[in-house]
């Protein structure tokens, strides 16, 4: 049996990936935005709406002349929970390969989304990956590299069928 197929490797990678996804979902689900003194309160005062703001900035799913705000709003509401469910499954090790495959597919959509902002010259100071506060991680080449590394890990967890016992 190859050392790479040792069950422990896939399990550790799955837990690490799961923690990243659970952490990524946290602000988008739970955050409450505090109104600054004297500042106008934005319409959106919670994590899901703040995440919608970030999605708008990517200008991939709208809103625009053809795509109504429901499209990015639905993603803002559902994606964090999909991340949370998939992350928890990866951590506890239930449906691990499927959860990893889903995380891989999600990462595979994040990479062109970020790359397209670079291509179109859209400066996104906070990629909305983890924190939704003003000074988040910039959507750039470093982020693409991180996403690609996590994609590789997800693919590994999804693809390797751990051998429970020798035949």
């Amino acid at each position: 049996m190859s050392a790479w197929r040792h069950p422990l490797i896939a399990r550790v990678l799955a837990i690490a990936l799961g923690l990243v996804f659970v952490y990524a979902s946290h602000d988008k689900i739970w955050k409450r935005v505090q109104q600054k003194q004297g500042q106008p309160l934005p319409t959106a005062v919670s994590g899901p709406a703040e995440f919608a703001r970030v999605i708008y900035r990517y200008q991939v799913l709208g809103p625009n002349a053809t795509l109504p705000p429901q499209v990015p709003n639905l993603l803002a509401v559902t994606l964090p929970w999909i991340e949370l469910v998939a992350g928890l499954l990866l951590i506890v090790g239930v449906w691990r390969r499927e959860a990893a495959l889903l995380c891989g597919l999600l990462l595979l959509t994040f990479i062109p989304a970020v790359a397209s902002t670079l291509w179109r010259g859209i400066d996104i100071q906070n990629c909305g990956c983890f924190s939704l506060a003003g000074e988040g991680r910039r959507a750039g080449l470093g982020l693409i590299a991180a996403d690609a590394a996590m994609f590789a890990a997800a693919l590994f967890v999804a693809g390797v069928r751990p051998q429970r016992s020798r035949p």
Binding site: I29, W30, R32, P40, P42, T43, A44, S46, G47, P48, A49, A52, R53, Y56, R57, Y58, Q59, G62, P63, N64, A65, P68, P69, Q70, N73, L74, V77, T78, L79, P80, W81, I82, E83, L84, V85, A86, L89, W95, R97, E98, A99, L101, L102, L105, I122, A158, R161, P162, R164
Partner: protein, 159 residues
């Protein structure tokens, strides 16, 4: 048969089940938790925000309305609506406002624009101006709407 009972086998329906359950939880959370927001509304637009279309904005500007460019200065210099003044949306609102206050107070129509649908700056500037008693409106779809309509533009620092 042994293969189908193998707990390690990858089953695509489980991927769909995770997506479906996550989506359902998200929708329930959005409607019932108090953390949600109305799905049908643009989160950049607040009740009370007023927007004008590019054709109307052009007419108003020709009649003397003051246009404000809420994008960063480099974007303003790369191309802006003729007669528009730079009013970048940053943490120096008070400075920008003090510099332009006489013009803002003497204009009945103030139109703020930024980089289009993915840009919230014009809404933020217009909202802050309203707090200072300036009835500012936002150019819907901003700069792209203006250029797509083929309206004149100006480059450089001159308004």
């Amino acid at each position: 048969m042994a293969e189908t009972r193998n707990p390690q086998r990858l089953r695509p329906w489980r991927v769909l089940a995770i997506v479906a359950s996550g989506s359902a939880l998200g929708l329930v959370w959005n409607s019932a938790s108090g953390h949600g927001f109305p799905l049908s509304s643009n989160v950049y637009v607040q009740p009370g925000d007023q927007q004008v279309e590019s054709a109307e904005a052009k007419g108003l500007i020709q009649k003397g309305a003051l246009a404000l460019d809420a994008r960063p200065l480099w974007a303003y210099e790369a191309g802006h609506i003729p007669s528009a003044l730079p009013f970048p949306e940053d943490d120096k609102f008070d400075e920008h406002f003090a510099a332009l206050e006489p013009q803002l107070r003497s204009n009945l129509n103030v139109i703020v624009y930024c980089a289009g649908f993915g840009c919230e700056a014009s809404h933020i500037v217009a909202r802050k101006l309203k707090q200072h008693g300036i009835p500012a409106v936002v150019l819907n779809e901003g700069w792209p709407a203006w250029t797509d309509a083929g309206y004149p533009i100006r480059t450089g620092k001159q308004p």
